[in-house]
Amino acid sequence: MSIRIALTKGRIEKKMVELLEQSGINCNKLRNKKRKLIINSNDGKYCFILAKGPDVITYLNTGTVDVGIVGSDILAEHNNEQCELLDLQSGKCQFVLASTAAFNFDRPGRKVIGTKYPAITQRYFESLGQDVEIVKIEGSVELAPLIGLADAIVDITETGTTLRENNLIVYDYLDKVSTRLVANRMALKQHTEEIFEFSDRLEKTVAANSSVQRQMEESK
């Protein structure tokens, strides 16, 4: 029986295909999937299910899939209850608090914060002892302080380019984000060997890539 892997569509999927191939898993079918959403690997060991990040969490929580590959931002926002096996060290970015130059972090009063991640935002401001009003935004979060919807935003950024291009300044750095390998709690009991074999395979590749990257940085 193959293990069912929910893979987050888009950027994570592209990077994961490379990582899987490096780990010796033939991804021809994944590369040539066209509009298919369920793709079996050539050796029949893995069944990839392509889904949006929050849906990967739902599939994991209901036991619909055995394993999920998803960003730690989504895991943190949805209070992940499943087993996080591995940091895949890809899709790296960071949560930031950002706003226009006019924003005064210390001004008295209740701030309005726009974000796609209300739970993370709530926890962050709670840790600072501040009560804020959170406005949930689905996309182009950078707009919120520019059009007067919010005083500031909490969002993820990889290079900061979008923020800079929209004249936004980073006021604080929150948790770092990367792609994670997560297993459903029961599936880990039911398919222990297969899941650990998959995880160990990826871990070796991740470690080798990190080592190469370190060497490159040292030689600069």
């Binding site: 619909t64 209850e81 996080e84 940091d87 029961m186």
Partner: protein
């Protein structure tokens, strides 16, 4: 127009599914009564304080106000029984069982239900491991009766993590954090925390710990290569013994998990779960909690309890619920006395409630059953 939708997390149950659940309930009741378990029903509303040992925030209980006192729809059925035992001068030891509804607010729109039927047993006043063994016997019997013996029993111990961590550090917060990440099996965070003990006697064990689960023989073989603190080794010795006993049950597979969280914080000894390979949750969950009654009275009592997820058991049980197709009896209201006599004699006959014979014939034809009526002598007569 009135609102017609159900609140989130609620559902109606009807037909074969309900019959199947009742059949399992009845079968379970007969089995437990044969083994001298006494049924106990507690109310679904309790004061919030009853669940002080229960993580209400995490479990998201329904809360209501009763004369400004917070009451909750019970999210757990063990604590109300502990409350009952402590306040009703009940002689112990005693074996109890329950079947009832419990309420936990699941994450909204997650496809999970907030009202679930749970059954369970509580063996109170028994310090012997034989109480645990009776629970394993119940799991084994139900597994063979309803699930072709596919349920695997997984053993753990609520004190094992403390037995290891107490030998490493006195830092309570750090110990708690390591336990949290170990139980959640958040490996990156767990590895970060144990890196503090890189040059310790237990380093190799700590690295392997999150993976110390699986078949009893494999886990015991792995653990034998580590030198554990005395208390942890005592727990392993006990688990080895118990797993050998459980393996003596017919068709019973036994697993160990040394990194599993106890089902609730009040557990004090062996914990156990039962699951099969084709379902996505545990069917059975329980363990020993020797101090639970101390929260309600001065004296504690040794006790073992086990919950059975009746919803999941109903869903996965291989059970034929036959829907018998009874013939129908047309009658006139003044024939009610004859109707009673006939129905007492012939059980496979249901009443036809149509007002006239013509409609009764149509009903019989639609249901593809025979139609009977009562003649002037009060005798049963088939209608052609």
């Amino acid at each position: 127009m009135h609102k017609v939708s159900l609140p989130l997390g609620m559902r109606d149950e009807f037909g074969i599914q309900v019959s199947k659940k009742h059949q399992i309930e009845q079968s379970l009741e007969i089995f437990l009564q044969q083994h001298e378990f006494m049924r106990i029903d507690t109310p679904i509303l309790e004061y919030q304080e009853v669940f002080a040992d229960y993580d209400l925030r995490q479990q998201r209980a329904y809360r209501l106000l009763d004369n400004n006192e917070v009451v909750v729809l019970r999210p757990d059925l063990t604590l109300p029984i502990a409350r009952f035992l402590a306040t009703n001068n009940f002689s112990l030891p005693r074996k109890l069982y329950y079947i009832g509804e419990r309420f936990k607010i699941a994450k909204s729109l997650s496809g999970k239900y907030n009202q679930m039927t749970q059954a369970g047993v509580e063996l109170v006043g028994y310090p012997s491991l034989k109480a645990e063994l009776e629970c394993f016997m119940i799991i084994n019997c139900l597994s063979r009766k309803f699930l072709q013996g596919k349920v695997r029993i997984e053993l753990g111990n609520a004190r094992f993590a403390d037995a290891i961590l107490n030998s490493l550090t006195d830092d309570t917060q750090l110990k708690q954090e390591i336990k949290n990440q170990l139980y959640k099996k958040n490996i990156p965070k767990y590895q970060q925390l144990i890196s503090l003990f890189a040059l310790n006697d237990q380093t190799d064990f700590l690295k392997e710990w999150p993976r110390l689960f699986g078949s009893a023989s494999t886990v015991l073989r792995k653990i034998s290569s580590f030198k554990l603190p005395v208390k942890a080794q005592q727990i392993i010795t006990e688990l080895t013994q118990v797993s050998q006993w459980v393996q003596k049950l017919p068709e019973q597979s036994v697993l160990l998990d040394l990194s599993v969280a106890p089902p609730q914080s009040y557990y004090t000894g062996i914990t156990f779960k039962g699951f099969s390979d084709d379902i996505s949750d545990y069917l059975f969950s329980g363990g020993r909690y020797d101090h639970l009654l101390e929260n309600f009275q001065k004296k504690g009592e040794p006790a073992v309890g086990m919950g059975i997820d009746l919803e999941l058991l109903t869903k996965t049980a291989e059970l034929n619920v036959s829907v018998s197709k009874a013939d129908i009896l047309f009658f006139e209201p003044e024939q009610l006395n004859e109707v009673v006599k006939i129905c007492q004699k012939i059980t496979n006959l249901t009443l036809c409630l149509e007002d006239n014979l013509q409609d009764a014939k149509k009903s019989a034809a639609t249901r593809n059953v025979k139609l009977f009526c009562i003649d002037k002598k009060g005798e049963l007569k088939i209608v052609n």
